[in-house]
């Protein structure tokens, strides 16, 4: 056991002198993740435009119209700014704003008297989507006003005529409006048809881009790192240090175990850094930071062990590199490390979920999404550890024999 630590310490000292490789291991997935975040946005953000409103009417109706743009979903996309008509035109002409709505004086009167009135909307030609959304929303509002006029023309007219009428007139209008509302409610909410809408909650729908991509990108990094680290055993052979260990009283198995310990420590470091960055810079949900980091470290170490027999059975380091890449890239693709399983075709998912990295990344995603099944996770962990131990045994056999010659 002491020699395991001695060997690990030596490897850590070597690693300490190569900070660039550690930075690369951590940096690659994070850079890719950040790029995806930048390209696709954070998942919860909406495009935001500015609607300039020149309200020349300044009545309840015009404010109602203006406020309609600032409410609910529309309000998240469109910020309303009140301007005068001249300033509004100038700003739209220089591309500052998505659209300018000019509400003319007399809008409320015209609406109540059922007379025509002209709203003007100037769109920013430099923008494609938001001005059209504003235009369509305005059309819907105008249509709504039209239908209100059709069904309640008498009430609206009387409301306009009474102006500052007597208490009796106001009360009569109020009663008429209430009756109207009751009559219309039969159309808006038919009492005979009860519709119960049950929206099935789909966790994926609430995920940000970071939530979707970071787990697989971290595992892509772990796989690539495993490939690089596994072929480093060739350095030991080429520099003659492995032979030298073999002629010392220290067992080769302990030497390799020390290397595995160093790999596990390196993976732990990479996992913690990746998860911290993912959580605090990319807003990825990481509910169980320590468990997730431990899972990533164990998975990475197993990947290393699985690739090690391939490296030590290769006739040369270059061959080992090529062979490792030929295996790692299809595995990464199948096992949901390039792209998440959510976006892969079914046939690929069916195969990929049985690959070692596929099994590991699914559990990792479940950990991050808070949907981990601990019993299943334990079974996957046992399977991975078993595979890892088998690979370790094969590697030691090879290191003691043919690999030394």
């Amino acid at each position: 056991m002491r020699f395991v630590w001695i060997a690990a310490l030596k490897d850590l000292r070597i690693l300490r002198r190569e900070p660039f490789s550690v930075a690369t291991w951590v940096g690659i997935p994070l850079c890719i993740g950040m790029l995806i975040q930048l390209i696709f946005g954070g998942g919860g953000a909406h495009p935001q435009g500015v609607l300039l409103v020149a309200d020349q009417d300044r009545t309840i109706a015009s404010r109602f119209l203006t406020n309609a743009f600032g409410s609910e979903e529309l309000g998240r996309m469109i910020k309303v700014e009140t301007v005068d008509a001249k300033t509004g035109r100038e700003r739209i002409d220089r591309g500052d704003g998505s659209a300018l709505l000019v509400i003319p004086s007399g809008l409320q009167d015209a609406f109540l008297k059922n007379q025509p009135c002209r709203l003007e909307l100037f769109k920013n030609a430099g923008q494609q989507i938001l001005p059209n959304i504003i235009e369509q929303s305005l059309r819907v509002m105008v249509d709504g006003a039209f239908y209100l006029q059709r069904v309640a023309s008498n009430e609206l007219r009387s409301l306009n005529a009474t102006g500052s009428g007597t208490d009796a007139e106001v009360a009569r209008n109020a009663v008429e409006m209430r009756h109207l509302s009751r009559d219309l409610s039969g159309y808006f909410s038919p009492p005979l048809i009860a519709v119960e809408t049950i929206a099935e909650q789909e966790p994926g729908n609430r995920l940000t881009v970071g939530d979707r991509f970071f787990p697989n990108l971290i595992f892509l990094s772990l796989l690539l790192m495993a490939n690089g680290l596994s072929t480093e055993i060739w350095k030991e052979r080429l520099f003659g240090t492995l032979r030298r260990v073999a002629v010392s009283p220290a067992p080769v198995a302990a030497f390799l175990a020390g290397r595995v310990l160093m790999v596990a420590l390196a993976y732990s470091m990479v996992a913690v850094v990746s998860l911290v960055v993912a959580k605090y810079l990319a807003s990825v949900a990481v509910p169980n930071m320590l468990i997730a980091a431990a899972w990533a470290a164990v998975s990475g170490t197993v990947f290393y062990l699985l690739l090690l027999p391939m490296a030590v059975t290769s006739p040369g380091q270059r061959f080992a590199d090529v062979r490792g890449n030929l295996l790692v890239f299809p595995l990464a693709m199948l096992g949901g490390c390039f792209f998440p399983f959510d976006v892969l075709p079914d046939w690929m998912v069916r195969i990929g979920r049985w690959t070692p990295n596929g099994m590991a990344v699914i559990q990792f995603q479940n950990l991050l999404r808070g949907t981990a099944d601990w019993r299943h996770g334990a079974a996957v962990l046992a399977a991975l550890l078993l595979l890892g131990m088998l690979a370790f045994w094969l590697s030691v056999r090879r290191l003691k024999g043919e690999f030394l010659r």
């Binding site: 001695i6 030596k10 000292r13 002198r17 190569e18 003659g240 030298r244 220290a250």
Partner: protein, 309 residues
């Protein structure tokens, strides 16, 4: 004591070592001399436990190298032919690791690291990464790692290859001091001068066999004061060989169309007769070299080739 008894090691059809036997005693430097491919490194590999002998036995300080491998390896320090160091870490870190592989612990390990750094003259550069070292410094550190645990047996496989003269002198002094302190040193080389100045006893290997063994004086006596005469030119065969093979005091070491090597008693006296006989056989001698009796001439006499071939 390192005892090798009828050692044989084959790799498939190739027999690299074939029935080698010798004993290297405590406090002596035993040289294994031979050209590249003679089987020296394979012999060292079998002694160090890196290779399993096909037949024969190796005992290191009384421990069988195969059945009692770990105990045998604990008694040995090995400096491989190629420098085997971690170049990214410092000399101290290398020594600490290799000492650890020999079950050394602090504070003894720390103390010994300082000692070997001083012996090898590396104390000033001890904390630098080894990759910044010169070839000679790396060789010295390579040897330092082999002696860090003060082994009873030391296997040095061509430790001075590619080393500058200054480092070579230092290395040879280091090897001598190890023997003087009681270690049994097995030293392989193809540098004849090194073997002559350093080794107490020698075995000359070729094609996996020991073709001569003994002290330097014993080996020289095998030459019987014969000179080695090397003639280059054109030598029609078999006429050239036939012209001289029955002459008194002359032994043919090698004879082909372009080169003739003869072992001759009092060569200066026989030279006119040799030239005359060769001329009669149609030979054209273009170059002549006469070598006084030495280990090299013995080697050439025994193997028919030069050591550095």
């Amino acid at each position: 004591m390192i005892e090798v008894d009828q050692l044989r090691k084959s790799f498939g059809d190739l027999t690299a070592v074939d029935g080698v036997s010798f004993t290297a005693r405590k406090g002596e430097i035993f040289g294994l001399l031979g050209p590249n491919g003679a089987g020296k490194t394979t012999t060292i590999g079998c002694i160090s436990g890196l290779l399993t002998p096909t037949a024969g036995h190796v005992r290191v300080m009384g421990h069988d190298a195969v059945s009692d491998g770990p105990a045998a390896r604990e008694c040995l320090g090995v400096a491989p032919q190629e420098v085997a160091l971690y170049e990214d870490i410092s000399a101290i870190e290398n020594l600490s690791f290799w000492g650890g592989t020999q079950r050394m612990r602090n504070p003894r390990l720390k103390q010994r690291i300082q000692e070997v750094l001083e012996i090898t003259g590396l104390q000033d550069r001890a904390r630098e990464p080894v990759k910044r070292f010169s070839g000679g410094m790396k060789r010295r550190l390579n040897l330092a790692c082999a002696i860090i645990h003060t082994p009873q047996g030391l296997l040095l496989d061509e430790p001075t290859v590619g080393v500058d003269p200054q480092s070579r002198v230092r290395l040879l002094e280091l090897v001598r001091s190890q023997a003087q302190s009681g270690a049994c040193v097995l030293y392989t080389t193809h540098y004849m001068e090194e073997a002559e100045t350093l080794c107490d006893r020698l075995a000359i290997m070729d094609h996996g066999r020991i073709i001569a063994a003994g002290t330097l004086a014993e080996l020289r006596s095998m030459l019987a004061e014969r000179d080695l005469l090397r003639l280059s030119g054109v030598f029609p065969q078999p006429a050239a060989r036939a012209a001289i093979e029955h002459a008194d005091g002359i032994e043919i070491v090698q004879a082909d169309e372009a080169l003739l090597i003869l072992s001759v008693v009092e060569a200066s006296r026989h030279l006119p007769a040799i030239f005359a006989a060769l001329a009669n056989a149609g030979a054209d001698v273009r170059g002549t070299t006469l070598t006084q009796p030495s280990l090299e001439s013995l080697f050439i006499k025994l193997t028919g080739k030069e050591l550095r071939e």
